[in-house]
């Protein structure tokens, strides 16, 4: 306990403790390793800029070339369609997997087993080449007869094959993500819904899935970023996304490396933008789970600037 008299006497001194000005510990190891990294990076950049073979001028020329820009758009479109398919199929499969009907649950398991157990590239080729078989077998496909192409190299065929190949495959991965999300929801929630008389599917839709979102959203962002790159596989079925567009150009001009660089720059740009979006999405869905969110880079910079300014003033 404080002696009152002393407390009053000490009050001014205590209200403003002296700021600590200590000599920081030196870390020579950090300086050495940092220097090595810098030297290697500088060499790489030097090689990159001075290398005549890379033809950076060509890269600059094609970066905003019309057909490349169209390829970028097509890549984004394919990513969006495949992900939407994946999410819808994933939700359906996850709900099926948790069904009490063993045949329904088994069907979901079989789907995931098949699509995760075979390479996407094989699946893409499979869907692309299916029409030739389908026509000779005259298989009734739900998309209708007009879907069966006169010419297998039709754009629409490649697009549908790409969507099927990537979307159906993604559905298998999304199913596991959605299932994990559903299982993360407290059992008491389903119990409360059941006790109110809500049927299983209704409580799944209204009570469980909305709460599962917090667990589902972050890995779905990762899947989207990964899908953006995976769309380049559709080049093997001559679908004109970004990579295939670049390939068409360099098969004509033989500027292979510059065009691959051009495509890479665009892929890097798009994945970076998605990563930033992903960061903010995760923050948003962490709400309610974390008491205090870590600061965003923007907030961090502003805080740092404010701190500097404060120091400069004193």
């Amino acid at each position: 306990m404080d002696d009152e008299g002393a407390g009053v006497a000490e009050a001014p001194a205590r209200s403003r403790p002296e700021a600590i000005r200590a000599v920081p510990v030196r870390h020579p190891g950090r300086w050495v390793s940092g220097a090595i990294v810098l030297v290697v990076a500088a060499q790489l950049i030097h090689w990159f800029v001075t290398n005549k073979e890379l033809k950076l001028g060509t890269v600059r020329h094609y970066l905003f070339d019309h057909s490349i820009l169209v390829g970028v758009g097509v890549t984004l479109e394919l990513t969006a369609v495949a992900m939407i398919m994946g999410v819808i199929i994933g939700v359906v499969l996850a709900v099926m997997r948790l069904s009490r009907n063993p045949i329904v649950a088994g069907g979901s398991w079989l789907y995931v087993w098949f699509f995760r157990g075979t390479p996407v590239l094989v699946q893409l080729l499979f869907w692309y080449n299916l029409p030739t078989v389908a026509r000779s077998l005259s298989l009734g496909i739900p998309f209708g007869p007009s879907w069966l192409p006169q010419n297998p190299k039709d754009l629409i065929t490649a697009f549908i094959a790409a969507c099927l190949g990537l979307g159906l495959n993604e559905g298998a991965y999304m199913a596991e993500i959605v299932r994990a999300g559903i299982l993360s929801v407290d059992e008491g929630q389903v119990e409360a819904a059941s006790a109110l008389g809500m049927p299983r599917l209704l409580s799944m839709r209204r009570i469980v899935l909305p709460q599962a979102m917090r667990v589902i959203i972050p890995p779905t962002g990762n899947e989207t970023i990964s899908m953006l790159k995976t769309t380049s596989l559709a080049s093997v079925i001559a679908f004109p996304e970004l990579l295939y567009t670049a390939q068409i150009i360099y098969s004509r001009t033989y500027e292979t490396i510059p065009l691959l660089l051009t495509a890479s720059i665009w892929y890097l740009f798009m994945t970076s933008v998605l990563s930033v979006g992903q960061y903010y999405l995760e923050r948003r869905f962490a709400r309610g789970a974390l008491r205090e969110l870590p600061p965003t880079p923007g907030q961090r910079i502003r805080r740092w600037v404010a701190l500097r300014r404060g120091r400069a003033l004193t």
Partner: protein, 263 residues
């Protein structure tokens, strides 16, 4: 089956349990429960942890399946129907419909965290009853006012105290206009100073004539509000009677030793 006469209907118990048994694998959790809950009665269940109180409550709205014996709610067999002298399992739809008439309140509230207090109360009637939204909203608002939360309509559960959450949960159950309310230790997860406000709401419900089965450790509430009380131990009803008698003058050794620990 003959129609019950007027006299029989008047005394028909709300819940009638005859020799109800429940097994979890090789563990027998209920070993022949016999009891009757009359309409408008507040029926309290006490007993040590693991004695099967929650399991019995969950049998009443068919969250658990009864393995043997006969359990009826308002004269209707729970989970089954009798046709041609045989029992047939009820279809899910019918099970859900019957649950609508039985409200349940949980120890851990189990409010829907992504909905406001009003949203929690409106959700089930909005989806399950043939009423328009305005009518449901009006009833939900009235119910929240009744449990003393008219200023918390648009607040999410995490922003409410435990006592307030439990009162929302009671309003949520009442929104389906049940004829029977089941309470499973509704105040056990609450800080002591919040217990009173929840018990007060339950007392009001009892005064309005709601039939209630209450699993509780609140002996004061059982004594003052309860009409009947059973002491359960190891899946059996050990002792039953009026709350005053059982609490002040227990007849069985097991009841005595349990009461000496909780009082």
């Amino acid at each position: 089956m003959s129609e019950p006469t007027e006299a029989q209907a008047a005394v028909r118990p709300m819940v009638h349990s005859e020799g109800v048994e429940k097994w979890f694998g090789r563990l027998q959790v209920l070993q022949g429960i016999d009891l009757q809950v009359k309409p408008r009665e507040v029926f309290c269940i006490i007993g040590p942890s693991g004695s099967g109180k929650s399991t019995f409550l969950r049998c009443i709205n068919h969250l658990e399946k009864v393995d043997a014996g006969r359990l009826t709610v308002d004269g209707q067999l729970v989970g089954y129907q009798e046709r041609g002298g045989r029992l047939h399992e009820l279809p899910d739809k019918e099970v859900c419909r019957r649950r609508e008439e039985i409200g349940m309140v949980f120890q851990r509230f189990n409010l829907f965290p992504h909905m406001t207090a009003l949203g929690n109360v409106m959700e089930a009637p909005l989806r399950l009853k043939d009423e328009n939204k305005a009518a449901v909203r009006e009833r939900a608002t009235a119910l929240l006012r009744r449990v003393g939360l008219s200023d918390k309509l648009n607040v999410y559960p995490t922003q409410l105290s435990g006592g307030q959450q439990q009162r929302v949960a009671i309003a949520r159950a009442l929104a389906m206009q049940p004829k029977l309310m089941l309470f499973d230790e509704p105040t056990s997860a609450l800080d002591p100073e919040l217990v009173g406000e929840v018990l007060e709401v339950m007392r009001g419900l009892a005064e309005d004539g709601m039939t209630m089965i209450v699993v509780t450790h609140e002996m004061g509430f059982a004594r003052e509000v309860g009409d009947a009380l059973v002491f359960m131990d190891q899946g059996q009803v050990v002792e039953t009677g009026s709350p005053r008698d059982v609490i002040s003058d227990p007849q069985h050794e097991r009841t005595r030793s349990f009461l000496s620990k909780v009082l």
